[in-house]
Symmetry: C2
């Protein structure tokens, strides 16, 4: 797989430098370049800090700003950030109300964020919300339980809005844990992904194959199948999502179609239209939607569908103003 880069070693760092330069009104480097931070912190607000491996851009840096994250720590490609990065982010963005860490459920990420939290315990109040929205729950080399995938941005947006209005650490933790059972995602890959400096694809797909339930690190999914029509693909990923969600009156469906990096807008909008039709036929009427490239696996071709069933309060928080490089309303 060919890439626009100078070398695999410098890909993440050079990309982050370009990202900060492009969004210098909102985002800055912190800790001598070890993490990205909100340029203007809001004193007295709980600091929302996330992070994970590189290769998932615009996650997490693209969601730094008013009403969302205060800091994002990025590791090498598909590699957790180190505890010292996370610690530096806590030291620089905690303005007195403590830090909430939003962590995708991968063993490496959870371990490093927990380690940072322990190291920081003497001087910061800290809590953690682990995102585990992947409906393709199967054996994984990377995590116990469900993986955290594109639903992460739902957690970051809702907790970010709550932090912005002044919720304290305990309230944010309760809000995050309450949302978890009503948030599910599932993805499909049409083309695998190659990690730079590791020449071979982490998984390879034949020219007529697709991978259902794929993760965001090029790890294989639940099943490999013959490439199907978009209608069939959408059914294969939306049905398990619906099965796992407590559909009920009074909840507000939020539908997200997320590209994995190599899939163009024309296909993402097509998938969105079909996903919406599928859900509506099942009686689930999305009240808000988002279509775009938010949580990637380098240039993997494919997409994921995320469905969140939001309470009245969560829905209001989703709709609350936000000003970040990616989401702005």
């Amino acid at each position: 797989m060919k890439r626009v880069m100078n070398s695999g070693q410098t890909l993440v760092a050079e990309s982050l430098a370009g990202f900060v330069a492009a969004h210098e009104d909102l985002v800055a480097f912190g800790g001598g370049g070890r993490f990205l931070r909100r340029r203007a912190l809001k004193p007295g607000k709980v600091a929302l800090i996330s992070g994970g491996g590189g290769g998932h851009e615009p996650l997490h840096g693209g969601f730094i700003g008013t009403g969302m994250l205060d800091a994002a720590c990025t590791g090498h490609i598909f590699t957790s950030p180190t505890p010292d990065q996370i610690l530096a982010a806590m030291d620089e963005t905690d303005t007195g109300a403590g830090c909430l860490l939003v962590v995708k459920n991968y063993d490496g990420d959870v371990m490093n964020f927990e380690m940072a939290a322990e190291m920081a315990a003497p001087r910061h109040r800290i809590d953690m919300v682990v995102v585990e929205d992947d409906a393709a729950y199967g054996p994984s080399v990377r995590s116990r339980g469900r993986r955290g995938v594109a639903g992460t941005i739902v957690v970051e947006k809702i907790l970010g809005a709550a932090a912005e209005r002044g919720d304290d650490l305990a309230a944010l933790k309760t809000l995050g844990e309450g949302l978890s059972p009503r948030l599910r995602s599932m993805g499909v890959a049409l083309r695998g992904v190659t990690v730079p400096d590791n020449a071979r694809e982490t998984f390879a797909l034949g020219s007529d194959e697709m991978e259902i339930g794929v993760g965001i690190h090029g790890e294989p999914g639940l099943s490999r199948q013959r490439l199907a029509s978009a209608d069939e693909i959408v059914r294969l990923i939306c049905a398990p999502i619906l099965d796992q969600l407590p559909v009920a009156e009074g909840l507000h469906p939020l539908l997200i179609v997320n590209g994995f990096g190599g899939t163009p807008p024309i296909e993402l909008h097509l998938a969105y239209g079909l996903a919406r039709r599928f859900l509506e036929a099942e009686g689930v009427m999305p009240r808000r939607s988002l279509v775009g490239t938010f949580v990637t696996s380098l240039d993997m071709a494919g997409f994921s569908v995320t469905l969140a069933l939001l309470t009245e309060e969560e829905f209001a928080l989703w709709c609350a103003p936000v000003a970040t490089p990616v989401l702005a309303w």
Copy 2:
């Protein structure tokens, strides 16, 4: 090349349906589904109408809304919209101040927009601005003169803001033609593109090749070279752009890095950082920037750089409020 679609015949129509569903607050189908239009027209404003082949999404529909386009006409993949689509758009969105057609410089597009303008002449005041920003000016099967590529969104934004403030048809035409010599783009492809229902790639690249000066229809570019470092690629496309622009004090540089559909954000931000560094070393300091996937060639891998040197007035129009599915500030 694998795609998320039901069939090549329905790809564009199903994608547009999904697009309208995702953005129903801003965009609607007009003319019985033949074009996309701004949901709420502004009476007395010149109607800004654009269009072109499918396969370039989010162009043009993504730029419909307050401060930008009133209508977008989409043809089949890489095929001009028909005069009757354009005519229907004029009939439905002209609220009395006439129509300005924004057309990318391809023979088919120019011909069909001109034909529509002739047919509409008895009942509409009409003028046209042709976008021709491609710095890779060479022989082409599709156009005489420079092609219209990603710089199209600069023209649509600036003219859209001017129309929104009440400029008349003649003023908009003058503004558009004045901007043209100060707007240039150039692109590079790392992987070719396959048109659906036409199985073979329109151009194929070897696993160590890149195409410099590529167009947005998978047409070959100026030269084929061995895949180079990002630094070298950026130099190869930014140097010709600078050569063709009248760099001068008092003009405000706008820098855009645009993905062609198959290139992920991590690479686009890296390219942006290098392009900015290259320009700054040449004494050109971007005052505004935009990085993302705006003008695509299906899922072609690669990107383009656009540089516009804006007058004080054009710069203010670029910065003026806009509310469309893609640009919003």
